[in-house]
Symmetry: C2
Protein backbone atom coordinates (compact mmCIF):
# COMPACT_ATOMS: atom_id res chain seq x y z
CA UNK A 1 0.00 0.00 0.00
CA UNK A 2 3.04 2.28 -0.52
CA UNK A 3 1.38 4.39 -3.19
CA UNK A 4 -1.27 5.51 -0.72
CA UNK A 5 1.11 6.57 2.05
CA UNK A 6 0.53 10.25 1.27
CA UNK A 7 -3.03 9.62 2.49
CA UNK A 8 -1.83 8.94 6.03
CA UNK A 9 -2.59 12.07 8.08
CA UNK A 10 0.34 13.86 9.71
CA UNK A 11 -0.98 13.16 13.21
CA UNK A 12 -0.83 9.40 12.63
CA UNK A 13 2.77 9.71 13.81
CA UNK A 14 2.13 12.17 16.62
CA UNK A 15 3.20 10.95 20.06
CA UNK A 16 0.54 9.14 22.11
CA UNK A 17 -0.64 10.76 25.32
CA UNK A 18 -2.51 8.78 27.96
CA UNK A 19 -5.40 10.97 29.10
CA UNK A 20 -6.44 8.48 31.79
CA UNK A 21 -5.28 4.96 32.66
CA UNK A 22 -8.10 3.03 34.30
CA UNK A 23 -8.14 -0.48 35.74
CA UNK A 24 -9.40 -2.08 32.49
CA UNK A 25 -9.39 0.70 29.88
CA UNK A 26 -7.14 3.61 28.98
CA UNK A 27 -8.21 6.76 27.17
CA UNK A 28 -5.48 7.94 24.82
CA UNK A 29 -4.86 10.79 22.39
CA UNK A 30 -2.75 10.88 19.22
CA UNK A 31 -2.84 14.23 17.42
CA UNK A 32 -6.51 15.17 16.99
CA UNK A 33 -7.62 11.62 17.73
CA UNK A 34 -8.95 10.27 20.99
CA UNK A 35 -9.50 6.55 21.42
CA UNK A 36 -9.88 3.88 24.05
CA UNK A 37 -7.65 0.87 24.50
CA UNK A 38 -8.10 -2.25 26.61
CA UNK A 39 -5.28 -2.72 29.11
CA UNK A 40 -5.44 -6.38 28.08
CA UNK A 41 -4.09 -6.06 24.54
CA UNK A 42 -5.11 -9.53 23.33
CA UNK A 43 -8.52 -8.44 22.06
CA UNK A 44 -11.70 -10.46 22.11
CA UNK A 45 -13.04 -13.54 20.35
CA UNK A 46 -16.57 -14.33 19.20
CA UNK A 47 -17.47 -17.99 18.70
CA UNK A 48 -19.80 -19.14 15.92
CA UNK A 49 -21.04 -22.48 17.24
CA UNK A 50 -23.72 -24.84 15.96
CA UNK A 51 -24.89 -27.95 17.81
CA UNK A 52 -25.21 -31.37 16.16
CA UNK A 53 -28.97 -30.57 15.92
CA UNK A 54 -28.07 -27.53 13.71
CA UNK A 55 -28.90 -25.01 16.42
CA UNK A 56 -26.86 -21.81 16.75
CA UNK A 57 -25.69 -20.95 20.27
CA UNK A 58 -26.49 -17.50 21.68
CA UNK A 59 -25.99 -16.14 25.20
CA UNK A 60 -28.13 -13.64 27.04
CA UNK A 61 -26.64 -11.38 29.71
CA UNK A 62 -26.89 -7.94 31.25
CA UNK A 63 -24.30 -5.35 30.12
CA UNK A 64 -23.70 -2.55 32.59
CA UNK A 65 -22.20 0.04 30.15
CA UNK A 66 -25.41 0.11 28.08
CA UNK A 67 -27.70 -0.99 30.97
CA UNK A 68 -29.54 -3.49 28.82
CA UNK A 69 -29.88 -7.22 28.38
CA UNK A 70 -28.04 -8.30 25.27
CA UNK A 71 -28.14 -11.32 23.00
CA UNK A 72 -24.63 -12.24 21.88
CA UNK A 73 -22.72 -15.17 20.52
CA UNK A 74 -20.43 -16.77 23.13
CA UNK A 75 -17.36 -14.54 23.46
CA UNK A 76 -14.47 -13.66 25.70
CA UNK A 77 -11.23 -11.81 26.16
CA UNK A 78 -7.99 -13.32 24.95
CA UNK A 79 -4.94 -13.66 27.15
CA UNK A 80 -1.76 -12.03 25.98
CA UNK A 81 0.77 -14.73 25.14
CA UNK A 82 3.41 -13.24 22.84
CA UNK A 83 4.21 -15.41 19.82
CA UNK A 84 1.06 -17.51 20.34
CA UNK A 85 -1.52 -15.02 19.09
CA UNK A 86 -3.50 -17.49 16.98
CA UNK A 87 -3.26 -20.24 19.60
CA UNK A 88 -4.38 -17.67 22.18
CA UNK A 89 -7.52 -16.95 20.17
CA UNK A 90 -8.37 -20.62 19.61
CA UNK A 91 -7.71 -21.74 23.21
CA UNK A 92 -9.63 -18.78 24.65
CA UNK A 93 -12.54 -19.63 22.35
CA UNK A 94 -12.67 -23.26 23.50
CA UNK A 95 -12.57 -22.26 27.17
CA UNK A 96 -15.19 -19.52 26.85
CA UNK A 97 -17.57 -21.65 24.79
CA UNK A 98 -17.61 -24.40 27.42
CA UNK A 99 -17.80 -21.94 30.34
CA UNK A 100 -20.69 -19.97 28.89
CA UNK A 101 -22.73 -22.66 27.12
CA UNK A 102 -21.72 -26.04 28.54
CA UNK A 103 -20.78 -27.22 25.03
CA UNK A 104 -17.24 -28.48 24.42
CA UNK A 105 -15.87 -28.30 20.89
CA UNK A 106 -13.43 -30.71 19.29
CA UNK A 107 -11.96 -28.15 16.89
CA UNK A 108 -11.83 -24.38 16.46
CA UNK A 109 -10.96 -22.67 13.17
CA UNK A 110 -10.04 -19.03 12.64
CA UNK A 111 -12.42 -17.04 10.39
CA UNK A 112 -11.64 -13.32 10.50
CA UNK A 113 -10.38 -10.56 12.79
CA UNK A 114 -10.95 -6.83 12.60
CA UNK A 115 -11.69 -3.67 14.58
CA UNK A 116 -14.98 -3.24 16.47
CA UNK A 117 -14.97 0.57 16.07
CA UNK A 118 -11.83 1.82 14.33
CA UNK A 119 -12.65 5.53 14.79
CA UNK A 120 -12.66 5.41 18.60
CA UNK A 121 -11.01 2.21 19.79
CA UNK A 122 -8.09 -0.12 19.19
CA UNK A 123 -10.21 -3.15 20.14
CA UNK A 124 -9.74 -6.07 17.77
CA UNK A 125 -12.37 -8.79 17.50
CA UNK A 126 -11.65 -12.26 16.14
CA UNK A 127 -14.36 -14.58 14.86
CA UNK A 128 -13.80 -18.32 15.08
CA UNK A 129 -15.93 -21.32 14.17
CA UNK A 130 -16.33 -24.08 16.78
CA UNK A 131 -16.78 -27.58 15.35
CA UNK A 132 -17.61 -31.04 16.73
CA UNK A 133 -19.69 -29.88 19.70
CA UNK A 134 -20.47 -32.17 22.66
CA UNK A 135 -22.62 -31.15 25.64
CA UNK A 136 -20.61 -31.54 28.86
CA UNK A 137 -22.17 -29.20 31.41
CA UNK A 138 -24.82 -26.61 32.18
CA UNK A 139 -22.95 -23.49 31.03
CA UNK A 140 -23.91 -20.15 32.56
CA UNK A 141 -20.46 -18.60 32.85
CA UNK A 142 -18.12 -18.23 35.81
CA UNK A 143 -19.12 -17.06 39.30
CA UNK A 144 -19.23 -13.38 38.23
CA UNK A 145 -21.52 -14.09 35.26
CA UNK A 146 -25.19 -14.96 35.00
CA UNK A 147 -25.66 -16.19 31.48
CA UNK A 148 -28.72 -17.75 29.84
CA UNK A 149 -28.03 -19.99 26.85
CA UNK A 150 -30.32 -20.05 23.79
CA UNK A 151 -30.12 -22.74 21.11
CA UNK A 152 -31.85 -21.50 17.96
CA UNK A 153 -32.46 -23.49 14.77
CA UNK A 154 -29.96 -22.23 12.20
CA UNK A 155 -32.53 -21.27 9.55
CA UNK A 156 -34.54 -19.26 12.11
CA UNK A 157 -31.60 -17.45 13.73
CA UNK A 158 -31.92 -14.14 11.85
CA UNK A 159 -35.66 -13.81 12.43
CA UNK A 160 -35.17 -14.84 16.08
CA UNK A 161 -32.61 -12.03 16.61
CA UNK A 162 -34.98 -9.44 15.11
CA UNK A 163 -37.79 -10.72 17.34
CA UNK A 164 -35.58 -10.34 20.44
CA UNK A 165 -34.63 -6.79 19.30
CA UNK A 166 -38.35 -5.96 19.04
CA UNK A 167 -38.73 -7.17 22.64
CA UNK A 168 -36.11 -4.70 23.84
CA UNK A 169 -32.97 -6.80 23.88
CA UNK A 170 -29.83 -5.11 22.60
CA UNK A 171 -28.44 -7.01 19.61
CA UNK A 172 -24.87 -6.37 18.49
CA UNK A 173 -24.89 -6.06 14.67
CA UNK A 174 -21.79 -8.30 14.59
CA UNK A 175 -24.09 -11.27 15.27
CA UNK A 176 -25.34 -10.97 11.70
CA UNK A 177 -21.70 -11.12 10.57
CA UNK A 178 -21.51 -14.41 12.45
CA UNK A 179 -24.55 -15.66 10.56
CA UNK A 180 -22.98 -14.53 7.26
CA UNK A 181 -19.82 -16.52 8.06
CA UNK A 182 -21.97 -19.53 8.91
CA UNK A 183 -24.11 -19.34 5.76
CA UNK A 184 -21.01 -19.00 3.59
CA UNK A 185 -19.20 -21.95 5.19
CA UNK A 186 -16.29 -19.90 6.61
CA UNK A 187 -14.21 -21.97 9.00
CA UNK A 188 -16.11 -25.18 8.24
CA UNK A 189 -12.91 -26.94 7.24
CA UNK A 190 -10.02 -27.42 9.65
CA UNK A 191 -6.97 -25.50 8.38
Amino acid sequence: MDSTDRRIPADANAPVQTLHAGRWLSLRQRGRWEYVERNNPGGAVIIVAVTPEDRVLFVEQYRVPIRQFTIEMPAGLIGDVAGQEQEGVLLAAQRELEEETGWRCGRVTFVHAGPSSSGMSTENIAFVRALDLVKVGPGGGDETENIVVHEVPHNEAGAWLFARAAEGYSIDPKLFAGLWFLEHGLGDQAE
Copy 2:
Protein backbone atom coordinates in the same frame (compact mmCIF):
# COMPACT_ATOMS: atom_id res chain seq x y z
CA MET B 1 -38.13 -8.93 30.87
CA ASP B 2 -39.27 -8.42 34.47
CA SER B 3 -38.67 -12.02 35.49
CA THR B 4 -34.98 -11.65 34.76
CA ASP B 5 -34.47 -8.47 36.78
CA ARG B 6 -32.70 -10.41 39.53
CA ARG B 7 -29.98 -11.02 36.94
CA ILE B 8 -29.10 -7.32 36.82
CA PRO B 9 -25.88 -6.91 38.83
CA ALA B 10 -26.00 -4.60 41.83
CA ASP B 11 -23.50 -2.18 40.31
CA ALA B 12 -25.80 -1.54 37.33
CA ASN B 13 -27.35 1.13 39.53
CA ALA B 14 -24.13 2.47 41.03
CA PRO B 15 -23.52 6.17 40.39
CA VAL B 16 -21.50 7.03 37.28
CA GLN B 17 -18.10 8.66 37.73
CA THR B 18 -16.37 10.44 34.87
CA LEU B 19 -12.74 9.35 34.97
CA HIS B 20 -11.78 11.73 32.15
CA ALA B 21 -13.80 13.98 29.85
CA GLY B 22 -11.96 14.47 26.56
CA ARG B 23 -12.87 16.58 23.53
CA TRP B 24 -14.67 13.70 21.75
CA LEU B 25 -14.76 10.81 24.21
CA SER B 26 -15.31 10.39 27.94
CA LEU B 27 -14.06 7.52 30.05
CA ARG B 28 -16.60 6.60 32.71
CA GLN B 29 -16.96 4.13 35.58
CA ARG B 30 -20.09 2.54 37.04
CA GLY B 31 -19.38 0.11 39.87
CA ARG B 32 -16.73 -2.33 38.61
CA TRP B 33 -17.35 -1.32 35.00
CA GLU B 34 -15.30 1.08 32.92
CA TYR B 35 -16.55 2.18 29.53
CA VAL B 36 -16.13 4.89 26.94
CA GLU B 37 -18.86 7.19 25.69
CA ARG B 38 -18.92 9.56 22.73
CA ASN B 39 -19.62 13.15 23.77
CA ASN B 40 -21.90 13.22 20.71
CA PRO B 41 -24.65 10.90 21.97
CA GLY B 42 -26.36 10.34 18.60
CA GLY B 43 -24.28 7.32 17.69
CA ALA B 44 -23.14 6.33 14.23
CA VAL B 45 -24.79 5.06 11.06
CA ILE B 46 -23.50 2.57 8.49
CA ILE B 47 -25.02 2.71 5.01
CA VAL B 48 -25.63 -0.42 2.93
CA ALA B 49 -25.71 0.96 -0.60
CA VAL B 50 -25.84 -0.80 -3.98
CA THR B 51 -25.56 1.01 -7.32
CA PRO B 52 -28.00 0.42 -10.21
CA GLU B 53 -25.25 -1.86 -11.65
CA ASP B 54 -25.58 -4.07 -8.51
CA ARG B 55 -22.26 -2.93 -7.08
CA VAL B 56 -21.83 -2.53 -3.30
CA LEU B 57 -20.18 0.73 -2.18
CA PHE B 58 -17.15 0.54 0.11
CA VAL B 59 -14.83 3.32 1.27
CA GLU B 60 -11.13 3.09 2.01
CA GLN B 61 -9.48 5.41 4.53
CA TYR B 62 -6.75 5.60 7.12
CA ARG B 63 -7.80 5.25 10.79
CA VAL B 64 -5.41 6.82 13.28
CA PRO B 65 -6.48 4.84 16.42
CA ILE B 66 -5.51 1.51 14.80
CA ARG B 67 -2.90 3.07 12.42
CA GLN B 68 -4.15 1.07 9.46
CA PHE B 69 -6.01 1.54 6.22
CA THR B 70 -9.53 0.20 6.56
CA ILE B 71 -12.25 -0.90 4.18
CA GLU B 72 -15.66 0.18 5.47
CA MET B 73 -19.13 0.81 4.24
CA PRO B 74 -19.96 4.54 4.05
CA ALA B 75 -20.68 5.76 7.58
CA GLY B 76 -20.87 8.79 9.79
CA LEU B 77 -21.84 10.26 13.11
CA ILE B 78 -25.40 11.30 13.76
CA GLY B 79 -26.30 14.76 15.02
CA ASP B 80 -28.21 14.97 18.25
CA VAL B 81 -31.70 16.28 17.49
CA ALA B 82 -34.01 15.33 20.36
CA GLY B 83 -37.31 13.85 19.23
CA GLN B 84 -35.98 13.25 15.70
CA GLU B 85 -33.79 10.24 16.40
CA GLN B 86 -34.91 8.16 13.42
CA GLU B 87 -34.96 11.19 11.09
CA GLY B 88 -31.50 12.04 12.41
CA VAL B 89 -30.22 8.61 11.37
CA LEU B 90 -31.79 8.73 7.91
CA LEU B 91 -30.76 12.32 7.10
CA ALA B 92 -27.21 11.74 8.37
CA ALA B 93 -27.03 8.63 6.19
CA GLN B 94 -28.09 10.50 3.04
CA ARG B 95 -25.59 13.30 3.67
CA GLU B 96 -22.68 10.98 4.49
CA LEU B 97 -23.33 8.69 1.52
CA GLU B 98 -23.19 11.58 -0.94
CA GLU B 99 -20.20 13.22 0.77
CA GLU B 100 -18.13 10.03 0.88
CA THR B 101 -19.13 8.31 -2.38
CA GLY B 102 -20.69 10.90 -4.70
CA TRP B 103 -23.86 8.79 -4.89
CA ARG B 104 -27.16 10.42 -3.89
CA CYS B 105 -29.97 8.14 -2.72
CA GLY B 106 -33.68 8.71 -3.23
CA ARG B 107 -34.72 6.76 -0.13
CA VAL B 108 -33.19 5.43 3.08
CA THR B 109 -34.76 2.68 5.20
CA PHE B 110 -33.84 1.70 8.75
CA VAL B 111 -32.56 -1.88 9.19
CA HIS B 112 -31.15 -2.42 12.69
CA ALA B 113 -29.33 -0.66 15.53
CA GLY B 114 -27.21 -2.13 18.27
CA PRO B 115 -24.04 -1.73 20.33
CA SER B 116 -20.57 -1.93 18.71
CA SER B 117 -18.92 -3.29 21.87
CA SER B 118 -21.34 -3.51 24.79
CA GLY B 119 -18.72 -4.56 27.34
CA MET B 120 -16.61 -1.39 26.98
CA SER B 121 -18.62 1.29 25.20
CA THR B 122 -22.05 2.89 24.97
CA GLU B 123 -21.61 3.44 21.22
CA ASN B 124 -24.72 2.52 19.25
CA ILE B 125 -24.48 1.73 15.53
CA ALA B 126 -27.45 1.93 13.18
CA PHE B 127 -27.54 0.17 9.82
CA VAL B 128 -29.64 1.65 7.04
CA ARG B 129 -30.24 0.67 3.43
CA ALA B 130 -29.89 3.37 0.76
CA LEU B 131 -32.14 2.93 -2.28
CA ASP B 132 -32.53 4.59 -5.69
CA LEU B 133 -28.91 5.69 -6.11
CA VAL B 134 -27.85 8.35 -8.63
CA LYS B 135 -24.25 9.46 -9.20
CA VAL B 136 -23.96 13.22 -8.62
CA GLY B 137 -20.32 13.92 -7.73
CA PRO B 138 -16.85 12.52 -7.14
CA GLY B 139 -17.18 11.64 -3.44
CA GLY B 140 -14.01 11.49 -1.36
CA GLY B 141 -15.35 13.04 1.84
CA ASP B 142 -15.05 16.55 3.27
CA GLU B 143 -11.84 18.60 3.41
CA THR B 144 -10.54 16.67 6.45
CA GLU B 145 -11.04 13.27 4.79
CA ASN B 146 -9.23 11.45 2.02
CA ILE B 147 -11.52 8.66 1.01
CA VAL B 148 -11.20 6.21 -1.90
CA VAL B 149 -14.47 4.70 -3.16
CA HIS B 150 -14.70 1.07 -4.28
CA GLU B 151 -17.68 -0.30 -6.20
CA VAL B 152 -17.69 -4.09 -5.94
CA PRO B 153 -20.08 -6.49 -7.72
CA HIS B 154 -22.54 -7.71 -5.11
CA ASN B 155 -21.87 -11.43 -5.59
CA GLU B 156 -18.08 -10.87 -5.24
CA ALA B 157 -18.22 -8.56 -2.20
CA GLY B 158 -17.44 -11.17 0.48
CA ALA B 159 -14.47 -12.64 -1.40
CA TRP B 160 -13.25 -9.12 -2.21
CA LEU B 161 -13.24 -8.18 1.50
CA PHE B 162 -11.25 -11.31 2.42
CA ALA B 163 -8.76 -10.51 -0.39
CA ARG B 164 -8.29 -6.97 0.98
CA ALA B 165 -7.79 -8.40 4.50
CA ALA B 166 -5.08 -10.69 3.11
CA GLU B 167 -3.38 -7.58 1.64
CA GLY B 168 -3.21 -5.97 5.08
CA TYR B 169 -6.32 -3.80 5.13
CA SER B 170 -8.27 -3.77 8.37
CA ILE B 171 -11.81 -5.03 7.79
CA ASP B 172 -14.48 -4.34 10.42
CA PRO B 173 -16.49 -7.58 10.91
CA LYS B 174 -19.68 -5.48 10.82
CA LEU B 175 -19.25 -5.25 7.02
CA PHE B 176 -20.29 -8.89 6.82
CA ALA B 177 -23.40 -7.97 8.82
CA GLY B 178 -24.11 -5.42 6.09
CA LEU B 179 -23.77 -8.16 3.48
CA TRP B 180 -26.12 -10.40 5.51
CA PHE B 181 -28.75 -7.62 5.61
CA LEU B 182 -28.34 -7.17 1.85
CA GLU B 183 -28.62 -10.88 1.02
CA HIS B 184 -31.71 -11.22 3.19
CA GLY B 185 -33.46 -8.20 1.67
CA LEU B 186 -33.57 -6.15 4.91
CA GLY B 187 -34.60 -2.56 4.21
CA ASP B 188 -35.37 -3.26 0.54
CA GLN B 189 -38.91 -1.99 0.96
CA ALA B 190 -39.67 1.58 2.02
CA GLU B 191 -41.45 1.55 5.38
